[in-house]
Symmetry: C2
Subunit: 286 residues, 2 copies
């Protein structure tokens, strides 16, 4: 497994793969890898002969009061796990490598970032699209694999790839969960024992929301209130949003229609830790 | 010479060039080609075995009161001239091909677009960076060649390429001029005979500005006023700006320093036609 720290190195590596006619998959991560990430690696092997993982805690997607500085960094363990899973290359650039001096260039997908997490994390998705565009141009993969726990992120990135003609196949993989349903997340390690137990209400809420819609509920507010109540019933859980949106523009429908794709999504604080989760209802376009 | 109308076609063409180990140069244009464009083709042949030209009148870089609808379109003559100049491929996408339905993705280089033409053409440079990013991703060239008449555009695009890690060599070529000094431009055909004669004051102004700085003038306002006076002396010429800026951030210096690169740039209306011109002073970084 090769480790690259500069854009030049990783572009050379990618070129040599292209020239030998092999396909390359990229999994962009912020490190602190858990089993969910490693399953993305397994999935990526199904799409490409060579799998590359980037590990970069991207400052531009954190707000000033968010957890950039204390975000978990576990590089040594990450590299060991990736090597075991058959990864060919890991790209671990510095901030200065990804964002050169006087850097002034942004990539933004407008509109989709005004819903769900967008209003609560101003600038977050612009940071995500900007860094992923750079990672794509540095690593030049044929296919990129993402976890759908960050569903809004995936839909925004997929739109970016389509609009800008990146020519990269975008694969979204179902969220990997703990036995009690909690979506795996690097941020779960922030939870103390009591909060960790409470955290299962987050997934309970989205499964309930999905079930209500699958069962024919037509009023989005009914679904949203039910999800909110499940989370608030735990005590000490502060709900940021609980929403039903369409999967194209991420807008709240007035009334739910049959045979239509929806996303139920929630965000909540458990103590100081912000967690998100979601479920697609009748996923056909992913 | 092959002609491509879809992103898929041009990506296949580019892939086959990459796989055969040849270099590809791209010259993005809006058509209505003149000798200045054709010299870019000649230059491009020095950098790459295969030269591709895109012809796309990009709606997102025109303001609502600008000349998008009447911008000259001369596709047949353009193709004949390019074929004669040894071009391998021409990419002439439709607006719908470049901007798919529900398109919401923008690329923006902040800061550099707030100077010179920026304030007079809100959204213009965002349209330019957005379309050129797409053209680069569709055509995947090793090198791109631009005319320096659009100096601000070139500096912004070069920054974009660096910041996003496009890995494309950016070549800027000196402006090709008519015998009286007028910079060649597709918009020159808007000029009637009287205005065409007056138009030479635009280039006289920038050559004067360049000469004053080369001669040791330290006060940018003196240079700017001199350029403005030359243009206004013609009568019927309405100056939009006449400025001296640094070549890194495009900001007006308080005082001109020796051994420093500057750009003198002007924009003026001659009748209804807006023309621009510029000169670099001691170009070392281009």
């Amino acid at each position: 497994m090769k480790i690259f720290q500069t854009v030049g190195e990783v572009q050379s590596f990618s070129s040599s793969i292209q020239q030998s006619g092999l396909r390359l998959a990229l999994i962009p991560t912020m490190g602190a890898l858990h089993e969910g990430h490693l399953r993305l690696v397994d999935e990526a092997h199904r799409y490409a002969e060579k799998v590359m993982v980037s590990i970069f805690v991207n400052p531009t997607q954190f707000g000033p009061n968010e957890d950039f500085s204390r975000y978990p960094r576990t590089l040594e363990a990450d590299l060991a796990a990736l090597s075991e899973r058959g990864v060919s290359g890991v790209f671990t650039p510095s901030v200065g490598e990804m964002y050169p001096p006087n850097d002034q260039t942004w990539v933004r997908v407008e509109g989709l970032d005004t819903h769900l997490c967008g209003p609560f994390r101003p600038g977050h998705f612009q940071g995500v699209t900007t860094v992923v565009a750079r990672l794509f141009l540095a690593c030049r993969p044929h296919v990129a694999v993402f976890g759908l726990k960050d569903a809004q992120q995936f839909l925004i990135l997929r739109r970016m790839v389509r609009d800008l003609h990146f020519g990269i196949e975008m694969v979204g993989m179902a969220t990997v969960r703990e036995p009690d349903g909690l979506a795996m997340s690097s941020r779960n390690r922030y939870l103390n024992e009591v909060d960790r137990k409470k955290a299962s209400v987050i997934s309970k809420a989205v499964f309930l929301g999905r079930g209500l819609i699958a069962g024919g509920e037509q009023d989005p507010a009914t679904v949203e209130n039910a999800m909110r109540e499940v989370m608030e019933s735990a005590g000490g859980v502060s709900v940021q949003y609980a929403e039903v949106v369409d999967t194209e523009q991420l807008q709240r429908p007035v009334q739910l229609q049959p045979e239509t794709d929806y996303l139920v999504a929630v965000a909540a604080y458990i103590g100081q830790t912000r967690l998100i989760d979601n479920q697609f209802v009748s996923v056909r376009n992913l």
